[in-house]
Symmetry: C2
Subunit: 340 residues, 2 copies
């Protein structure tokens, strides 16, 4: 089968790779209907994460189960499934508490490389969720979004305790930030401030439910959020970037007693303890336990209540994966869907 | 009147000071029945906080109201009152959300120096809570504890979401840590791990409800907590020290999805973002909104359900304040009560 392999920063190739097989009785093999490029893949593409050997890429996927191991009971061949980038047993104490991304038996699905025609998914029963039937083709981008960016933005909004009567600010206008806006709206937030300088992303944020746009960044952005909230700051702030500037912008934009949900993969961030102590805000974040949200998110998509697939503004055949990376790196595309 | 003034590290004197007067119509003046020395006062005594001029000391107090401003309506002359170290209006949006220590009109009561015979308390209606009647003398130490260390330890336990069925670990065996143990017990925690190397403090921790003692510190302490919790870490961890080692010990002792409540005044702490991201724990802390808890805590003390006053293992006349500081600095005393 064909799949994407990164050889060096800026060098992603579609190559012939070994067809995935069942290696554990809890595995499933999925024939992918769609996959995509993640903002976090760009850390490799840009050389910020080291690339020291050829590595299969991708960790977002939807598709049809073609093979299951002997111990798999919830998922069967022919099911159309959505899964998270972390495989989880969904039965341990940590999973039962809702933190499947830190499952006691967690495995990184992306190690197998989901930008491919087929994918082996470990712990299939605890990882994959089947859709109610075969999806209409126009639902596939939204289901694919649920696999990561929607689940991650949703977790950010939940971690920030977005909800009825709340003012929510979202730092970051990448796909995850935009999904944070959508999630805040769905969770009932009264006012949603999207922090974005890019007009196409501002438009999408407004479409997903943003009520205000703040173009300023850093402490100027903080000042604007304070102006919009009677000087207090937002109740809930979603941090969807992962840099020092974005994290401090999030903490400073939150009112005392408010909540920061941080889902940008942290790169070189140091949080000063004294400032956090005096800010008196709640901090919660990390790799999103997407599995917790999948049944609910699939339901909302299936009933066409949300349309997160709109975040894909570039659709390419898998063979053009490198162009998908380039377009996202150059911010010509918000998020690129790949068709195997 | 007489009150404590710090002139330099290690140099606290009892001096004649101006008798406090009503300066704002929302003020009250309280004749103090008892006051005490706080672990945070030792930062000044030790020269870790700069002492650049003679400064009145103390921020913990109980006593009888002797004068009120014209705008004070909830509190009247003759009331026996307990107050927090932060004056709050208790009516603004931040107070209503339970974060009175970050009130929009917050004032630091300690600026007036509570290690004294009398104290001016600003925003009396929103700051002071009257006891149901004149307290028996043996209740006074416990009521004094509610003014800060009990309220702070309680906040730490609430911020860490200590509660039924939970395993709670407490980092720090100072008065606040010990009150965190007491709070965790009262909040229904199933198992309470006190991290302490000092035998008298271990004994007090056991008396307040600890079920396990861990004497190891740092990563060895983390390993012991993991061993006691099936490898997962505690659900809730209270950090009551304020150093880098204690904060990292708290974060690393918490299971994914668990909660750290940090109430040690942060000194030079830097939290690495990547470690926090991967730890996936909730962080909440800061100056305790003691006022939120005072009515409940006074009720528990009045009904003799809790005896936090046991944390005072040294009682001295106000005139011997310097000895109280020395005894705490040298860890000969956990906490010293001063009688004006």
């Amino acid at each position: 089968m064909y799949g994407a392999v990164i050889h060096a920063p800026g060098d992603v190739r579609i190559e012939q790779r070994a067809h995935p097989r069942i290696t554990e009785p809890t595995d499933a093999v999925v024939q992918l209907a769609a996959t995509c490029v993640c903002g976090s893949d760009l850390w490799d593409w840009r050389g910020i994460n080291p690339v020291d050997r050829p590595t299969p890429m991708g960790h977002e996927y939807v598709g049809t189960v073609v093979e299951v191991g002997d111990a798999v009971t919830n998922i069967k061949v022919g099911d159309f499934v959505v899964g998270s980038f972390f495989a989880s047993d969904n039965t341990c104490a940590i999973c039962r508490a809702g933190y499947q991304s830190r499952c006691e038996n967690v495995q990184y699905v992306g190690a197998c490389g989901a930008q491919a025609e087929y994918l082996r998914v470990p712990l299939a029963d605890g990882t994959l969720v089947a859709t109610p039937g075969q999806p209409d083709p126009d639902l596939i981008p939204s289901l694919l979004a649920a696999s990561d960016v929607l689940g991650t933005g949703w977790f950010g909004a939940v971690a920030a305790e977005a909800g009825r009567g709340k003012t929510v600010a979202v730092v970051g206008d990448g796909a995850v930030g935009l999904m944070g806006v959508l999630a805040a709206k769905q969770l009932g937030a009264e006012r949603i401030i999207a922090m974005s300088r890019h007009e196409p992303r501002q438009k999408l944020a407004l479409k997903f439910g943003a009520t205000d746009i703040v173009a300023e960044r850093g402490d100027k952005g903080v000042t604007r959020v304070k102006e919009l909230t009677a000087g207090l700051g937002a109740h809930s702030v979603v941090e969807a970037v992962g840099t020092q500037e974005a994290m401090m912008q999030a903490i400073r934009s939150t009112r005392p007693g408010g909540h920061v949900g941080f889902v940008g993969v942290s790169h070189g961030v140091q949080i000063p303890g004294e400032e956090l102590f005096n800010a008196e805000v709640h901090l919660m974040g990390g790799p999103a336990p997407v599995r917790r949200f999948l049944p609910d998110l699939i339901g909302r998509i299936w009933r066409r209540e949300i349309d997160p697939g709109k975040v894909f503004d570039l659709i390419l055949p898998l063979a053009q994966a490198a162009e998908a990376y380039r377009a996202m790196d150059e911010r010509r595309a918000i998020k690129a869907l790949l068709q195997p």
